[in-house]
């Protein structure tokens, strides 16, 4: 037990050191989550695995917003759960301030959780319908009593409501008395309560009306400046991700296809999947819509239980060649752009990476 407690103290000390702006605060290395597929009723035998996340690596820098986009089922939400330690990773590491958090438990994990919080997708299920707003937000202080002394908790909850733009008098209301946008604000207030450094946002606005989405996004940007937060922002709406993110990662079938700054990804995509994804973004101007380069993919996303060999995207890619079936492309700056000072020189997992400006084509 002595070992464990000194370890806990070491973790706590490591967590207290501040990270300067622009330095990596969260480093994800080869993260994997395989959900076993079992057969049999009493004696379960594993017959395979759904490779929801299969080797994802990226860095999150202090103070930035990293957007992660991809279609349904590509493993975005599983990445969020792994970062939050809500699911145990099958393999790989998540370093928070240099400390691997995937294997932590007990007190050390609780200490990490003070610093990494989450905003959930659906504001209708993420708030306990039988608790008042004051109890929902105040529960964080029951779990981490060192954050706020007992007498101050109510006032602190009201401050938080004020910070997210809700009337502090709503403290005794129940979630069903609020609209979707207001509920999401409550969810954000709960995430902020412990004064974390990182907030993982798992599609925080996809369940909201378009008009309300903008308000919530603006609130999140305001809070980021105010509290010096780093965001991992998961979404499938490319325009929102571009609006809020400093850097963007594109996921396909459990792997990152391409990652770079928002300008690199949106203006100079080099991975065919990113290009196809961008070409599907609705364009409000009909003139520009007629001119743009529309890539229509054939077929469906393959099953993550049985992903294609080599490059995961090859079954739907118009550039696929024999090499793609045998050799797995690594996520790195493509050779042809290496050493060049162009925006196309960013990490892309494609053997035949080349620039194609789909948004401004024609």
């Amino acid at each position: 037990m002595a070992d464990l407690s000194t370890n806990d103290e070491a973790v706590a000390a490591a967590l207290d050191t501040p990270v300067r702006r622009g330095e990596p605060i969260l480093q994800v290395r080869n993260l994997k989550k395989h959900f076993p597929l079992t057969q049999g009723i009493l004696f379960k035998k594993q017959v395979g695995a759904v490779k929801a996340v299969d080797g994802v690596s990226f860095d999150l820098y202090q103070g930035e917003t990293l957007g992660i986009v991809g279609e349904s089922g590509c493993g975005k939400s599983t990445v969020a759960k792994l970062l939050m330690n809500l699911e145990r990773a099958t393999a790989g590491e998540v370093f928070y301030k240099g400390q691997d958090i995937t294997k932590l438990s007990g007190r050390a994990l609780k200490a990490v959780r003070r610093n990494i919080q989450m905003v959930f997708q659906d504001p209708y299920t993420s708030l306990n319908p039988r608790m008042t707003v004051g109890d929902i937000i105040g529960e964080t202080f029951d779990i981490h009593p060192e954050v706020a002394p007992k007498g101050e908790r109510r006032r602190k909850v009201q401050d938080l409501l004020d910070v997210v733009g809700l009337n502090p008098e709503y403290i005794n209301r129940y979630p069903h008395q609020f609209s979707g946008g207001q509920r999401q604000r409550i969810g954000i207030a709960r995430g902020l309560a412990l004064n974390p450094e990182i907030i993982i946002c798992d599609e925080p606005v996809s369940a909201l009306d378009v008009s309300v989405q903008a308000q919530v996004i603006n609130l999140m940007e305001k809070l980021q400046d105010e509290f010096n937060l780093s965001y991992v922002f998961i979404a499938h709406d490319l325009s929102i991700v571009r609006h809020i993110s400093d850097r963007v990662g594109v996921m396909y079938l459990g792997k990152l296809a391409e990652i770079g700054t928002d300008e690199e990804i949106y203006e100079h995509p080099t991975h065919p999947y990113t290009q196809a994804l961008l070409s599907a973004v609705p364009v409000p101007d009909p003139q520009a819509r007629a001119d743009r380069d529309r890539i229509i993919l054939t077929g469906d996303v393959p099953s993550p239980a049985n992903p294609p060999s080599g490059c995961r995207f090859r079954t739907r890619c118009w550039k696929a060649q024999d090499k793609c079936a045998t050799e797995q492309p690594v996520l790195a700056v493509p050779e042809r752009f290496r050493g060049q000072k162009t925006l196309a020189a960013h990490e892309s997992a494609c053997h035949f990476a080349e620039e194609r400006d789909v948004v401004h084509a024609g």
Partner: protein, 328 residues
């Protein structure tokens, strides 16, 4: 060139209205957020908001089914605690000379085969039925929801083993099980019968509790609590139990009626309660031989039993409707 322009204009018009609508909505939302201190549903800040439980109670008070069944059950509870309030006689004070006699002044329901007053025995029989029903239901609900709830929450091997055990218990026919198990018991108290009901009844509640805990466990608010660092006991007590208990309450209320009927069935078959305990089941059993000559001996306790069972089942039904948010 009018033709290519037309769809273009249409597109513009749609885009314009769409945009306008969105702004209106945004403004409306902003207004609710900032300006009205009263809040989203127009209730004043001082007015205490209603929880889902008080919403359910609000619904129940307006439901005639609930009022009727509630009054019947209240009456039953009162007379099982103080039977002398409405019956002055002694249920065991019998006069064989009056056996099977019909209604007389002072003895409105007549006499049974042993010459005991049927009215007094029917009133005193309520105590046994209500005791057996309430205690068996409490036992079943506690045992079943704890076992099933833990299995649902922790899953894994414990869940697999428990599910198979429930399957085994489900395969035992209740009456046959009662005949076998209770025929070896000689005690004339209610405890063996209650114990038997708990033994065979818990799998039903356990299954329901397991299912509803699994449903509640998957909600994001449980994940959110876990993400905050909440312990298992906090998640179970604060988040899962309050949201998973409603189906258990409903099924338990309905089951209460069936346990009362089961007690009567077992007593009728001669393996449940035994004289001198006063019970509707025993009276129905002994009266059944004389049903052609003296039907009143059978009809009064049987009628009381039917009304009691019906009242509990109706109550369970009303509670289920009130707790179902989809019907609101």
């Amino acid at each position: 060139m009018p033709e290519p322009i037309e769809p273009y204009e249409e597109g513009r018009a749609i885009a314009a209205t769409g945009g306008g609508g969105a702004t209106d909505l945004a403004m409306a939302e902003a207004e609710t957020l900032e300006k009205t201190p009263g809040g989203p549903k127009g209730t004043g800040p001082d007015k205490k908001p209603r929880s889902l439980w008080s919403d359910a109670w609000h619904d129940l008070r307006r439901n005639p089914v609930f009022i009727v069944s509630g009054l019947i059950i209240l009456f039953l509870v009162v007379i099982s605690i103080w039977p002398s309030l409405i019956a002055s006689g002694d249920p065991l004070d019998c006069d064989l000379a009056k056996a099977q006699e019909g209604s007389q002044p002072g003895h409105p329901f007549g006499f049974n085969g042993q010459g005991c007053d049927v009215y007094t025995r029917t009133v005193y029989g309520a105590r046994t039925s209500v005791t057996v029903g309430v205690l068996a239901t409490l036992g079943v609900a506690l045992l079943g929801s704890v076992l099933g709830g833990l299995a649902g929450f922790f899953g894994g091997a414990w869940d697999g083993v428990l599910s198979r055990i429930t399957d085994v218990f489900f395969a035992i026919p209740v009456v046959l099980g009662g005949l076998v198990l209770l025929s070896v018991v000689t005690s004339s108290t209610v405890w063996p019968v209650i114990g038997f009901m708990v033994l065979l009844g818990w799998p039903q509640i356990s299954r329901i509790a397991r299912g509803s805990v699994i449903t509640a466990k998957q909600n994001d608010y449980v994940q959110a609590a876990r993400a905050l660092g909440a312990s298992n006991s906090r998640m179970l007590l604060r988040h899962i139990t309050p949201n998973a208990v409603a189906p258990v309450i409903v099924v338990a209320t309905i089951a209460l009626g069936t346990y009362i009927a089961l007690e009567a069935t077992l007593s009728y078959l001669g393996v449940g309660l035994k004289p001198p305990t006063v019970s509707w089941g025993i009276d129905i059993s002994s009266a059944s031989q004389y049903v052609r000559n003296a039907p009143h001996m059978l009809l009064w306790p049987a009628g009381a039993l039917a009304i009691t069972v019906l009242a509990f089942i109706m109550l369970g039904d009303a509670v289920r409707d009130a707790l179902d948010p989809k019907l609101r």
